[in-house]
Amino acid sequence: MKKHLLQTQVNRWMKSMLLLFLAFIGTAVFGQGRNISGTVYDQLTNESLPGASVLIKGTTKGTSTDINGQFNLMVNAGENTLVISFIGYETTEVALGSQNVVSIMLTPEKTSLQEVVVVGYGTIKVKDLTSSITTIKSEELSKTPSSMPMQALQGKVAGLQIVTNGGPGNSPTVRVRGIGSFPGHDNEAPLYVVDGMFFDNIDFLNPSEIASISILKDASAAAIYGVRAANGVVLIETKSGSYNQKPEFTYSGYAGYQVAQDVVKMANAEQFTAMAMESGSAADKSFIEEAMQRYGRSRVNPFIPDVNTDWYNEILRPAKISNHSLDFSGGNEIAKYSIGTNYFFQEGLLNMKNEYERMNLHSKIDLKATDWLTIGCNIVYSNATKYNDQAGAWNQAYFAVPIMPVHDEFNTNASPTNYASARSLGYRDGQNPFPAMDFNIDGMKIKKIIANFYMEFDLVPKTLTFKTTYNNYFMAIDQRVVNLPWYIDDGFQNVDATLTRTISKDDNKIWDNILTFTESFGAHNLTIMAGTSFKDESFQKLTAQGKDFPTNMEQSWYISQSANIPSEQVSDDGIRMYGMSYFSRLAYNFKDKYLLYATVRADGSNKYQQTWGYFPTIGVGWILSEENFLKGNVNIPFLKLRASWGQLGNDHIQASDGAYTTSIANTTLGGIQYAGTVVSNSFSYLKWELVEETNIGITAKLLNDKLSADLDYYIRDTKKAAIPVIIPAVGTSVMRPVGTIRNSGIELSLGWSDRINDKLSYSVGANVSTLKNEVRDLYGQSYLDGGTAEFRQRTYVGEPLMAFYGREVAGIYQNQAEIDADPVAITNGLVPGDFKYKDQNGDDVIDDDDRVILGSYFPNLIYGGNFSINYSDFDLSCSVYGQSGNKILNRKRGELIWTADGNLDADLATNRWHGEGTSNIYPSSAGLRKGWNQKMSDYFVEDGSFFRIQNVQVGYTIRDSKWLGGQFPETRISFTAERPLTLFSYNGFTPEVANGVDTQTYPIPAIYTIGLNVKF
């Protein structure tokens, strides 16, 4: 009842506000002549539109529609045309005949060509673009239940690869048009610009705070960001209100569960026992015996232990996820605002303290202080707590033997929990992942504030503006890693209580000053922007460790409560970087047909030896549809050819590599600690990488605007790429700015939308992109080794970066006759069940000269699609995503080479060779332990292609309902299934492995949620 009262009150209040507002506008209407009255409707829904502007053409006279979409207007003789406009609809002119009552239909804006997109320090009309930019609106973001806005872009943008990281609060890996830098050096992230502020990731933003995300893909679009732009630029605009917008109060939220998908099936006790018995290792057989003695024999099969633990099943749990957002936005003539708050919570799939919780506040206000000055202020405050998973558990659960239970009642000495230890069976390690999960707590308190203030001066109205903006970003992360003591047995215990506290702080400031000049001279339309930007970035980090503190109460988990504070664990680090930039842009079009776009940026910083870098770009476009031979063709309403070229920098490259520095080396001599110094001579100065990109493209609207298409081809060369040059013999390398890496590809996006009738409309979209990654030069070296000595990844000139490199398996030796017939098998003492490798060089010897490239971890094809349909108040949408051509190193299987007696996946156990004809792909159990079969080969390298149903959402909207005599707010109820189905052949949790090497990848969950949106 209370709720009802409140609702009607709100509604009444809103209505009176609106009426007051309309009355105010109404006073402007004067004059004589006839009185025209009418109603404005939405052409699609037939609903009346309140607040639409109605103007008499050629005058300033006009009015707005009232709450029922109706208006009255006095028109003088000779005033024959009305112009009706409303946000989100196409502006329509209505010729007045003799009638005094008109009914006007407004068509929702379906062509986005008139829309403007943000391009960095300004905006540009979509139709004037000469570069490749894709913009995703907030509605699209809201479909994906995730704390990470970028996650929602997976499969939606051609040329953008999003690799999900499964842990709660972990940002996905984002790659724009491949990788132009040598991987693994934290240098591939794009630049994120949030309302003008620079970030390396946007994990602190809730998707509900974002109005739009624009991906600036090519050099021409990104070059205005100069030395930061080489990995692509992602522009984020947070939500703001609109002038003259009625206050709108929105609640949106969802809650649901995450379920681990495609859990790897491990060998069960029976399969594991069979493998151990066939291993030829007496020790392994004895472990099985021991397990039968300790835990009894299975009643089904008396030769296997009566324990069958599925470790993945034990460590996984269904996990909760929920999100609640409140937003309030609106505006009058001089002010607009958007304020709100949101709360996000997500548990991890790993059954331990593994979760992410975030509370955000945001407020954005813009004020037209005078008719020549606009000021604004924007603040987002994000307060998150994140408990990281015990990453090693994924790996441990893989190898933990199934013949051991989770708890062992015989382990009476264990404390505080009687977990089982594989050591009781004779294995070297305890193997049980639970002690580490239970007694290690890795918590982070993350606070991030972004605040900005701007003033914009209209120096010459609509022609010359000056804007000065000050941005400040402050981040504080307080991380505490606590390892509590536990005891399972003498060889499986953690003696010391250890806590490591790390406090880090980022404090970044940017001060931008921008002058923009816009003018048209006849058919010449010109915008010139010039600006400066000053940047001050500082980072500080302090770490210390304490041992043996009182563990009973969390309140005493402090370093100062510790009995022991190891001095070498204290570290203090800091970075201070300044940047000064000058930049300018020219956007010019002639007759709206011929486009010219150019920017230049000069970036200075104190990071590198070389202070200044210059980054130019130029783009041209030709709108064919404006030419006479196409004009008016309803099948080709819009067609544009565009081409661009530009240079960008990547300053994620460290300033230098290796050390010419001296580090402290401690040791004890005669029982006393001494501190010596060790000097390393592997030093190299680096500089930013230079990316040069050429892009050509076509943008088209076809078939009466129903079909939109974008096609791009690009070549992107990273010059002076910092690549690791091996230092011989010592197992390290030093980065030198000497490589050339090329990415090239084709991107195609298609969209089709149509409206069958008032009630039924649908749209279909598809995007596909190809990627070819190729190394063009490596400092004269013919190849470069990466990975590890056992799992070699090699970069050859002419091949992709870090391709997997090893032998090719031709099959399995099936019988003795086959062995006897093959000199290779005899020389190497092989037996049936061993690998037969391909003799690549035909010298009748199998050795390391027979190694070849086994594939790359870059997909060469990424595709996505979406389909949505609206019928009356129901809506359904579905999106799919897939990739192919990439390989994954199944290093979990591979790590058997270090410790052979652990468990294996069921696929391998079932399909192992165990007699003639049983397998031609997997070796025998004994064979798995032989060095011959453990060489890096395509046995370890698997296909990473997948196809996934990314998102399915069904919604029902309640509109215009009366409820207990009042207006029922517009309400949408929705059900979402995120990633419900993924099809792939890889033997792992997920084919999404960012660097292609799978050791302990967090599983990617399917998420099922129910959502509610209420709008007042």
């Binding site: 070297r428 215990q493 006393i672």
Partner: protein, 496 residues
């Protein structure tokens, strides 16, 4: 518009230097008291050896088996003389030791800078000589394992691209010459007499390295001279308590010419500098001090060695070298010649630690065992706080004795005297007129499980039959490991 140019003033910040860096070229070499730091750094590298270095150097030979069955298959295969150049330990040992050698060369360069800036010249030369002795240890072991290797000429690894391969003979001669250079600059004291760097190398350590290198060269006269000088110094004596020589009381003993030093600083928690002795420990035991950690079950004394010792009637050295499990004892007794074992043999050590049966090995190495009652209270890692001996006086005596039996002349007494000193400590009676074969038996008994001495002696003497035991078949072509594939990929000279 003015603001636009106002911001220009911020440009001055671009000249600010970077934070939190200490550049080597900023080091003040006139502060001579800091000259000790680079050499301490090299000692730190020496002590911080990776756990896999020693096992790969020393696993071959009839004294010890890999143990750890079911784990590190290619390590066990290496023990059986089946080599895999892709096995990670091969590459790791190579890289670790080369890293150390470059670090030693770099330390020398630093010391030279202090020397040029007014530091004490004699002390500078001494530190340089110490760095060269440390370097010779890594060169010596690498060349024993691989034969021909590359000798790093300076502190720059990329110089190896133009470095020719040196044969094992050239490497050993290089070490001998390097020691000749170093010896006059080193102090003539025992390592445990040094106050500035306790346990640091001295003149006698360099002489020992010279002797070891010349032994590999079969230059027995040089061996006799170098070892004779050590013996004649009178500085060294055999530790009476052989059992405890390898335990806490034996740290920096008068017998030790060189050891890798570790310490828990006498504290039950906090900083602890330790070798990973868990490698040698039993998979399962019942320690006298409850809660003491077990190990990985590697490094199993061979049945051949145990039987050899039993045949000789040894007890002191057998008890110290081998720890029995009941399964091992049963296996011994299954040989009809050993059904009656001495009564002292049991699976409980004299310190009261009971070694239970485990599948990975039948015996454990006693020289790498620290009784649980010698652990500092609060510490539980197997063997922690123990030192790792590299060269000890008994090896010097036996090298001297062998050199004489091989025809060299010596100034430090007879071969009999040297051998009998070692035998007396082991509780054995004197012998006279010792032959080379008897000296080798004595070395086998005395130095088993330590640094592969037995294997490299047998290879040097061509006694392949001795190395073919318990199902193994050794031939001289298997003396060296193949170069790690990862190194062949980097240094093509290794592939030629």
């Amino acid at each position: 518009m003015g603001v636009l140019f106002l911001s220009n003033g911020c440009k001055k910040y671009l000249d600010d230097p970077k934070e939190n860096l200490a550049y080597t070229d900023e080091t003040d070499y006139t502060i001579s008291s800091n000259m000790i730091k680079p050499i301490l750094g090299t000692y730190s590298e020496f002590n911080n050896t990776e756990w896999e270095d020693f096992p790969l150097i020393a696993v071959r030979g009839d004294d010890v088996n890999a143990g750890g069955l079911g784990d590190q298959q290619d390590f066990a295969e290496t023990d059986r003389y089946n080599y895999n150049k892709d096995f990670w330990m091969y590459n790791s040992l190579w890289q670790n030791y080369y890293t150390n050698m470059f670090s030693a060369n770099s330390a020398i360069e630093q010391i030279v800078l202090y020397k040029e800036n007014g530091a004490n010249q004699t002390l500078a030369d001494q530190y340089i000589a110490e760095a060269n002795v440390l370097k010779s240890w890594w060169l010596f072991n690498l060349s024993r394992v691989w034969g021909s290797i590359l000798i790093p000429a300076d502190a720059t690894p990329s110089s190896l691209y133009v470095t020719p391969l040196s044969s094992k003979e050239e490497v050993m001669q290089y070490i001998s010459d390097l020691m000749d250079e170093a010896i006059p600059n080193l102090v003539a004291v025992r390592p445990n007499e040094r106050a500035d760097i306790p346990g640091g190398v001295t003149k006698y350590t360099a002489l020992a390295m010279k002797a070891l290198a010349n032994l590999e060269l079969k230059n027995y006269q040089a061996v006799a001279e170098a070892t004779g000088e050590i013996i004649n110094s009178g500085k060294y004596s055999l530790e009476v308590d052989y059992y405890n020589l390898f335990k806490i009381p034996g740290k920096l003993s008068n017998e030790n010419l060189w050891e890798m030093q570790y310490s828990d600083l006498g504290q039950g928690s906090g900083d602890n500098f330790s070798y990973l002795f868990a490698f040698f420990g039993p998979s399962d035991w019942n320690p006298a001090v409850a809660g003491s950690g077990p190990g990985w079950g590697f490094w199993e004394p061979s049945l051949k060695y145990i039987k050899f010792m039993l045949d000789r009637g040894e007890s002191i050295r057998l008890e110290t070298s081998v720890i029995f499990t009941n399964r091992g004892i049963t296996e011994l007794k299954s040989d009809p010649n050993y059904t009656n074992l001495p009564t002292w043999i049991s699976n409980t050590t004299r310190s009261g630690d009971e070694f239970k049966d485990y599948a990975r090995a039948m015996f454990a190495s006693g020289k790498h065992y620290l009784p649980s009652d010698q652990l500092t209270e609060g510490r539980t890692e197997y063997g922690t706080n123990k030192n790792f001996i590299c060269i000890r006086y008994s090896e010097i005596l036996l090298m001297y004795a062998e050199a004489l039996t091989q025809g060299a002349s010596g100034s430090a007494g007879s071969a009999d005297e040297a051998v009998n000193l070692v035998r007396a400590r082991a509780g054995l009676s004197n012998v006279s007129g010792v032959t080379t074969a008897q000296v080798m038996d004595e070395k086998f008994a005395e130095l088993a499980m330590e640094w592969g001495t037995r294997f490299y002696d047998m290879v040097r003497l061509g006694r392949t039959a001795d190395l073919s035991y318990e199902g193994r078949n050794f031939e001289i072509g298997k003396a060296f490991l193949p170069y790690p594939q990862n190194q062949i990929d980097q240094l093509p000279v290794l592939g030629q």
